[in-house]
Amino acid sequence: MISRRKALRTGAGLAALATVGAPSILHAQTKTLKITTWGGKWGEVMKATVLPAFEKEFKCTVSADQAFPFLPKLQVSSKNDPIYDVLHTNSNEQWNAVVEGLVMNKITAKEVPNIADVYPYAVSDKIVGVTIFTSAIGLGFRTDKGLTKPTSWKDLADPKLAGARGGYLIPVNSLGQAHLMMLGKVYGKGLTDLDAAYKALEALKPIKLVDFTGQMEKMLLSAEVSMGVIHDSGVYRYEGANMQPVDFASPSEGVLALEQVLNVTPGSKVKELAFAYIDYMLRPDVQKMLAEAVWYSPANQKVKLEAKYDAKLLTTPEKVATLIQPDWKWYNARREDIDARVTKILKG
């Protein structure tokens, strides 16, 4: 027979064990949202202002990973308990993620009400998830080298720029990949005309290639290149006291979209909170703050930017119409062949 004291002791022991075994019980009030986000100025604003305000409003904590690349980490985590609830990447990586079932196919206004106010490109058939900002990929150039402002993508092939033009290591950089597709459009039948693109790429040699946009900014600032493929925010940020002899040109054939895309992982345990976060990031006040901090064009049509930002960023339907969105699903399906071909073309 079990004595009363023994029964009480056993019960208390079991309760203690259950508490230790399930720490979530102790923190049931505080949910944690796991997200990915960028570093640099973007990361500073997120950490200082955007995320603390979100945590306060939604009574949660946000765990933000800035250590790129994110997708390999998501790949090795459990689909039922993913390492991230919200994946923030550029568009092409979202397409890789959706093929592996790591993110949702589509997010609608039903889950994220502010989607009702975004420009069509933000949720077009070229996007999985939802675009919260975009940059325009065009041509950055030195203004102190006697160059006329480029008006066409073909201007990058000017023989005067031999050895002083910049591009990207195509296998590792989405700007380089988008530029390759643009070469197909400018010199061939369209974005998917790879033969024309390869031929045009060959004609761009000698070209200095880098693997990330920050390095292209450095090359432009140090005059190591006089003209290079870059996104508008990578040039516009050098303004005011930080002014540099560089400018951005939008070629007449159109600018390529470099979208900042948010998506939710299907196995997230805090899906509602994840949708709330995306909705929050699309709020006009949050969009304005981030857009003006890093010179990104907001996806929400209702955002009103200060005049100097409004003049340069894609803030009207007419300006947004100049955006060309690459078909990343098409590109990723051919990626291995493209990588091998461009590596051979550019080597030597």
Binding site: L71, Q75, G163, V172, N173, L209, E224, D339, T343, K347
Partner: protein
Amino acid sequence: MTNAARPSPIAWLIAPAGLLFVLFFVLPFAVMTAMSFYSGNPVTNPNAFLTTRHYERFIFDTAGIFHEALWSTLRIGLITTVISLLIGYPLAHWMARMQSRLGHALVLMAVIAPMLTGIVVRTFAWMTILQDKGVINTTLMQWGLIEKPLPLMYNEFGTIVALVHIYVPFMVLTLTGVIGRIDERLEQAARSLGAGRLRAFVEVTLPLSLPGILAGSLLVFALSISAYVTPSLMGGTDVLTLPMLIAQQVGTSFNPNFAGALGVILLLVSLAIVVAYNRILARLAGGQGMA
């Protein structure tokens, strides 16, 4: 229980290092090798199956870049090792034979100082020196000695220069210890028996320092062939190494299985080179094996 059955104190001391080796090399390498024989991640993808296609992809190299990348990796590793040895050996010999303690400490600090800054910082420093608008080219052009920038960067040359600068301290520190332990009287004895300075060095000091040459060379070779940051930043379009391809497969092609196969191939080829190198040096030293 008898004393013979108990683990010795040395075994207990070695245990943490052994555990670290198992946890951070054997286990990850085993996982990487296993992954390289799967079509996907068997933990998260129930449809992943066993395959040799990643190795076939490398062996048949229809893309035409993988064999060249392997050769380029080994070539950069070998050249970096040889140059590091040529620069490092005289410096290490000088340090080891230095009588002044202060002088030794100062030279040691000079050797170690570059290691206190990160590889990325040192590589960026080399970029500002070697690039087309860098210190060397700008100066030469201002002096009117050249019209066009010399191709000092965006190629194998620039990559090797930066790698040698980064890895010479490893060679020097390894060699200094070995040369310092060689009894100077042996060299003096050879000279008293009529050998010249050079002959005494070649026939006495050099053979006795072969273990240091082997250890330093293996260290620098291993570091050079696994270097990623420096070839990526300095190599431009001309340099493609296996570590760059591996990073590309993991970070942007999202194909860890093929990356695993490339890692296994790099390790096996490197091991073969190390074994061959060891045997050659052992034969030169007249011994059996040195490592």
